[in-house]
């Protein structure tokens, strides 16, 4: 039997209780790009309305919204292919690196869609969600040393994806330039 769709009061309550943590989650994952964060949060809520009107209000609206937001961020960065300009902006271990800038967040998020889920989750937890090694180790029920090792390997995988992308971007630009020169 289909659940009752929520009325305006229930929707407003869910909206007011979840909007700030939802926005903060999305904003952290897009390097604070306000325009992009607002677009994605709006998309998530429109999707939520369509689903909740059909299936009823979920027991944990925030959990539903955060899962949907994660998919929205991943989908967005799968579609866009950022141009890699500054190598220092994408070295996860360099002092200059911070995902707290739209360009760096764009590159890292795009690359995260191309590594294994376990690696992506570790990098998200440490660099985007601000969790410490200890917190991650406690959540996964393993030692801090094991997490440090896994994080190191995850960063290496990410760097390889970004390096390959930089080479392909360079090759694609050269190919495009050669084809326009030929036409010209």
């Amino acid at each position: 039997m289909r659940a009752e769709p929520p009325d305006d009061a229930a929707l407003l309550r869910a909206y007011r209780e979840t909007l700030r943590p939802l926005y903060a989650y999305v904003s952290r994952h897009v390097g604070g790009d306000r325009t992009l964060a607002e677009d994605l949060v709006q998309d998530v809520w429109m999707r939520a309305i369509r689903a909740w009107m059909r299936d009823g209000l979920p027991r944990e609206p925030l959990a539903w919204l955060l899962t949907s937001a994660h998919h929205a961020v991943v989908s967005h960065y799968r579609r866009t292919r950022p141009v890699i300009v500054d190598p220092d902006a994408i070295d996860l271990e360099a002092p200059a690196f911070t995902p707290d800038a739209p360009d760096a967040a764009a590159i890292v998020n795009w690359a995260l869609t191309r590594v294994r889920r376990a690696h992506a989750q570790l990098i998200e937890a440490f660099h985007f969600d601000g969790k410490s090694i200890k917190q991650i180790a406690d959540e996964l029920g393993t030692s801090e040393r094991a997490i440090e090792g896994r994080l190191r390997r995850a960063r290496l995988k990410l760097k390889r994806v970004i390096d390959r992308a930089r080479q392909k971007t360079s090759a694609a630009s050269n190919a495009a330039r050669r084809s326009t020169e030929h036409v010209g």
Partner: protein, 318 residues
């Protein structure tokens, strides 16, 4: 100063209004399943259901919004609005100070004109928030209820509060259009310099189109509202014409996204043939295109259902 990862209060209010509007739209125009749309008879039946549902929701909405008034309820609602209005005025003051600072910095060459434009947009949004809350407070004092933003709501003691707030939203939308157009110009400059490729320009173009569609929607709703209050149409007709305007706006906003998705697929196919892109990326580009096409088909369906109902004579002309 707004924390980087905190939402802009004006965005919070705008999205809240959109969430409620979308929820009402979903209640009035439920999506039929594919088997339901198999026959012409079922299409006509779906339109009839839409009319019945919209009549029921409209009547119940009016009755619920203006039910028993109590002084205590009025006081609670107005106290909350006054608190929010006070905060909004503080934000407006901060926005004005930020604008003045940006103008001074541009004059001495410390920041670019973009900073002034952003600050001007922020002032416009903050001003609109103050005006909207003032309107809500006035309506709450008159009715003892939370302000209603339903297109079919009647005037309150001869005053059209819903129309007032639509006009405020229109001002904000026009200010936002200027900002998105400036962002498009900036993206085009960066592309011309070779700093980025075509994708950011296309996305900026899509945002401009979306903003233009939003402006057209508010203008349509204001016209519908005027016809309702003049008695040219009734509440059911106004509800249907509002749904029609929503569907038209969605089509306008989706059209450039469809073009972007088609070009991205072509680009992906070219890169794939040169072995510069993986099959996963190509599949993702195809899926993106199909999703936009599905959204556009949904908007076309909603528009066809509503127009069928309007043309059947029960909805009048649009």
């Amino acid at each position: 100063m707004l924390d980087k990862h905190s939402p802009d209060p004006a965005f919070v209010d705008r999205l809240e209004a959109r969430v409620l509007a979308e929820a009402r739209r979903q209640r009035q125009a439920p999506v039929p399943s594919s088997w339901w749309m198999a026959s012409r008879l079922r299409i006509v039946s779906a339109a009839a259901i839409l009319a019945i549902v919209s009549m029921g929701v409209g009547a119940a909405g009016v009755a619920a919004a203006y039910q028993v008034k109590t002084n205590e309820q009025r006081d609670l609602i107005t106290a909350d609005l006054q608190r929010r209005l006070s905060l909004a005025r503080q934000r407006l003051q901060i926005a004005n100070e930020t604008l003045q600072s940006a103008q001074q910095q541009v004059a001495i060459g410390v920041v670019s004109q973009d900073a002034v434009m952003d600050a001007q947009t922020k002032v416009a949004q903050s001003q609109a928030e103050v005006e909207s809350l003032t309107s809500q407070l006035a309506e709450a004092r008159a009715t003892g209820q939370v302000a209603v933003d339903d297109l079919t709501a009647p005037a309150v003691q001869g005053h059209d509060y819903v129309g007032d707030r639509l006009r405020i939203a229109l001002q904000v939308a026009r200010a936002s259009l200027q900002t998105t157009q400036a962002a498009l110009a900036a993206a085009e400059r960066r592309r011309a310099l070779g700093i980025t490729d075509q994708v950011p320009v296309q996305m900026a173009q899509a945002r401009v189109a979306e903003q233009q569609a939003a402006i057209a929607l508010i203008e349509s709703k204001l016209a519908i509202r005027q016809r309702l209050l003049n008695g040219a149409i009734d509440q059911q007709q106004a509800a249907l014409q509002g749904l029609e305007a929503d569907a038209v706006q969605r089509r306008m906003a989706l059209a450039p996204k469809l073009q972007i998705a088609q070009e991205q697929l072509q680009r992906a196919e070219t890169l794939m043939s040169q072995r510069l892109m993986s099959s996963v990326d190509l599949a993702q580009a195809r899926l993106n295109l199909e999703q936009v096409q599905a959204d556009l088909a949904k908007a076309d369906l909603d528009l066809a259902l509503v127009r069928a109902q309007l043309q059947s004579g029960k909805g009048g002309g649009s």
